[in-house]
């Protein structure tokens, strides 16, 4: 069995993650942020320590400016819907996932003005075009760090400099890169970093968050939900301070215990070493696919410019058929279609059919790549 769907959810998870989750359920169990007994305090400590390791990982400033969410989608919604008002202008790219585009299109109907800067068919973004889109009323630039379709990295540090020069907020969707690529909020001038725990951070599903930089003014911020926070219980008004402003309801403490273990595991292994391994695999896959007659590989064809996510098509075969046959005949699991990113597929020219996507992860091997290349080659040969 070969698992190539890491761009959706990474699997398997490091054993320490499973141990942390079962350890929490067996030994801690209680509610974080509520009650003062020892188990509740222990749960709170685990959650706090998770804030701390993630803040360190991304070089944020304050663990209390990290609000946990269920996933990156909720984090992006929190940032966009919390900060943008009718009449304000936002700039984004044409390679975004629907986690960005759908909340923006909904805000557009309420009067927020949205500029989508086009990317090249390889998914590359020219930062100068972002700068050219800045105008009076622009409040924010929001972009993914890497495409979930072709893995192409966007020049976030260049965009961050532009955002800082014009005193705009810079929101980055790190769904595909958090854990797979070094990210520094200070170096890249990121004001709002949205992440998910279940992809390259190797944590469980149901974990993610939004890190607020020091430039984000919380006056008038609209949280997605309001409710119990374990703090200020005497009042029926939502607390105005982070993280409680954005964290109503009991947190997914068991998931966060797993995420803490996975981040510690990642840091122990070194993101640079993981990146090098994945980059080698990606280049081997790209080169191998391009050698097969009838295959079109999308993106830059250069592993240095992308994550270990590779999209391709086989001439004469629908992506859905390729996916079904890879699973049933070769036990290769991947994702086909539009990957919740119609804008990105329009940009690379694969809308509406989509592509076959191999999302590689750190547990994949050179042997996995070679077996997959043989399988794809056989499918392509049978189709010619």
């Amino acid at each position: 069995m070969i698992y190539f769907d890491n761009a959706a959810t990474s699997w398997p998870k490091p054993p320490v993650v499973v141990e942390a989750i079962t350890g929490f359920l067996n030994n801690t169990g209680a509610s974080p942020g509520r009650s003062g007994h020892r188990l509740a305090v222990e749960a709170s400590r685990i959650v706090y320590d998770t804030r701390e390791v993630l803040t360190q990982l991304f070089n944020g400033t304050d663990p209390l400016r990290l609000a946990f969410t269920q996933n990156v989608t909720e984090a992006l919604n929190l940032a966009l819907r919390g900060l943008l008002h009718p009449g304000e202008h936002i700039i984004t790219s044409s390679m975004e996932h629907n986690a960005m585009m759908r909340p923006l299109r909904a805000l557009e109907k309420q009067g927020v003005e949205v500029t989508v800067v086009p990317c090249s068919p390889e998914g590359l973004l020219d930062a100068a075009q972002v700068e050219a889109a800045v105008r009076p009323g622009t409040k924010m630039i929001a972009a993914n760090h890497a495409s979930n379709v072709v893995g192409t990295l966007l020049p976030i540090t260049d965009i961050g400099r532009i955002a800082r020069r014009y005193e705009l907020l810079f929101l980055v969707d790190t769904a595909q890169t958090a854990g797979a690529y070094p990210i520094d909020m200070q170096d890249s001038h990121i004001d709002l970093l949205a992440f998910t725990g279940h992809k390259a951070l190797y944590g469980p599903t149901g974990t993610g968050g939004l890190i607020f930089g020091e430039r984000v003014n919380l006056a008038g911020f609209e949280p997605l939900k309001r409710g119990g926070t374990g703090s200020r219980s005497e009042t029926e008004e939502q607390p105005g301070f982070l993280p409680d402003l954005c964290e109503s309801g009991t947190l997914n403490a068991v998931g966060l215990a797993g995420l803490k273990a996975s981040v510690e595991w990642l840091r122990g292994n070194g993101i640079a070493a993981i990146r090098q391994h994945e980059s080698e695999l990606a280049q081997r896959l790209i080169d191998g696919l391009r050698d097969i007659p009838g295959i079109t590989v999308y993106g830059t064809h250069d592993a240095a410019c992308q994550t270990a996510t590779v999209s391709f098509n086989i001439a004469g075969l629908e992506p859905s058929e390729v996916g079904e046959r890879l699973d049933s005949e070769y036990a290769i699991m991947c994702r086909v279609g539009l990957h919740c990113a119609p804008a990105a597929h329009k940009t690379i020219g694969t809308f509406p059919a989509g592509t076959v996507r191999f999302g590689l992860g750190t547990f994949n091997t050179h042997a996995d790549i070679d077996a997959a290349l043989a399988a794809v080659s056989a499918l392509a040969r049978q189709t010619q």
């Binding site: 003062g36 374990g230 703090s231 993280p243």
Partner: protein
């Protein structure tokens, strides 16, 4: 005995209390997270207990680390 006289540092939330505890402990001051005494606040969380003689040093450590807190109460 000064060790028997305590003060508690009340914070916005349990998360803030844990942050405060780490900063205070990091400054070499003995401290402990304890349930918030009912007569100080109706809240359901925890606070940081320190020896009363360490109050000034603890406040200094929190201020230096820019950790918000709501108040300090002798108990």
């Amino acid at each position: 005995m000064s060790g028997e006289a305590y003060a508690v540092i009340v914070t916005h939330s349990t998360s803030h209390a844990i942050r405060a505890e780490k900063v205070i402990a990091g400054a070499g001051i003995a401290c402990k997270l304890v349930p918030l005494p009912r007569h100080i606040s109706s809240d359901c969380g925890v606070c940081v207990r320190i020896a009363r003689v360490d109050t000034d040093a603890a406040i200094r450590a929190l201020t230096d680390a820019r950790v918000d807190f709501e108040g300090v109460h002798d108990i």
